[in-house]
Structures are given as C-alpha cells and as structure tokens.
Amino acid sequence: MRQWVLLHYRVPPSPSARRVYVWRKLKNLGAILLHDSVWVLPDTAWTYEQFQWLVTEIADVHGEAMLWQAHLTLPGQEQTLINRFLAASEREYEPLWQALQQDAPDLSALSRQFQEVRRRDYFACSLGQQIYDALTRAREE
C-alpha cells in the first residue's frame, strides 16, 4: 500500500502575501488540495522534506500546520487519488503538447517548461513521455 504525506495548515489572513507564498509553494510542489482542507503528495524522502520545511516556514509566520503520513484503506481510493495526480500533470503538459504541433515551435522554451512540469509529475503520465520523445525528435530533424 502506498504511503502519502498530508499537510493541513492555517496562516493568519493578513498580510495576504504570506498566504499566497504558502499556496504557491504547494502548487509548485504539485500537491493536490483535497476537499478544501488537506494537501496531499505521494510520500518520498524528497516530498516529506519539502513539507517538513514548509511546516517550519508556516510556524515562522505564526501559522499552524500539521504533517501526517497516511495510507488509504478502502479499495480503489488509492488508484482514484493517483488518477487525480496523473490528470493534474496532463493538464499542465497539454499546452506544451499543443505548442509542439505548431510550425517552428520554440524548442528551447518548451524544453525548459517541460522540465518544470516533469519535476512534479510524480506518477509519470504518458503525455510527459510523448512530449519528451517529440522534443528529442524535433532536435534531430
């Protein structure tokens, strides 16, 4: 059974820049917000550490955060959650894929954006591999 890391937190409403800072960091990590309350990531040494440091940053701005390790126990729920991560990556890859179909795409910019999305594509969605292959081919043409 797969293990997940869960973070839920509260940051004082003002100044709002702090709330935005935390929220952007969570989006940047590719964490998924469940039911407007808990952020989840697959548990790896790396994701655990990122959440761990985010907890200390939240405490620094007088917020409260709790970090959990958990697994889903009901049949099918784990796959449902994995599918949400896959769908989130696919949504991020989609515009890159579209851009690659155009005439003379900016390969340099696209490959940088690709690396950014791949960093948080935890379950290696198939569109990511397609883009990787397309970029490799484009370079050789």
Partner: protein
Amino acid sequence: MQWVTWETVGIDRMASAWLIVRHIDPDAEFAFLPKQAAPPAPAGAELFDIPGVRLSHRRGHCTFHTILREYGIQDPILERLARLVDEADTIQEVSLEAAAVGLDWVCRGLRKICRDDAEALRKGYSIFDGLYAYLGDEKGL
C-alpha cells in the same frame, strides 16, 4: 566540536558539513540522529538542519545559507553556492542555477553508494571543493 544532524544526508547537509569543516571548525566531528527524533541537544554539540534549531532552514533558505549568515562568512563564491543549494534543496520560484538539479542528484546518489552518513559527508567534500574551484573561475578568463 560535535555537530549533530538527522541521518540520511542530502545536498544541504553535505554542503553544510563541508562549509563547517573548511570555514568554521576544521576538527568537526559529525554524529547522526534517527530521522524525526526530537533533538536532545547533547552538551557542547551543535545541531544543524533539524527543524526549529538555530542552524536550519530560515525564510525559505537552506541550512547552508543560514550557516553563512550566522557565522558572518562573506565570500561571493559561497553566496553563489548557497543559491545553488537553495535551488537544489527547496522549491524556489526563481531558478537561475541550471546545475542545481544535477548537483542534487549526484549528492543523493552518493549517499546511496556510501556505507553510512559519515562516509557520504567525507566523499561530499571533494564535490564541493571542486565546485568551489570551478565557480571561482567559471568563465576561465
């Protein structure tokens, strides 16, 4: 002096140990606590890279960066290295150092092939000695 951190070191702690040995305490001895152990702060020992201690992540920066500040070390090459470690170890919105990801992977892999954390820190010294030498003469002018 004894310097204590959690086990299973990565780039930030490898770089920090190198910084300590080269710039703060040439006779430093390192000891490792089980991950997530509450720090007991042994007498005369300094803890680092553990949430909540003096030498740890601060304001979104890595421990290496904090140690530079805490010890008032001023060296533009070390500042650049701190930027690299920041980008390798944490999510940064601005990423300027293309080498950061590679450096992170090398450090993670190095830990995997070492018997223990002490060996990983020792072997890591060569990486950061080399990087320091390179950054000091990056363009070879």
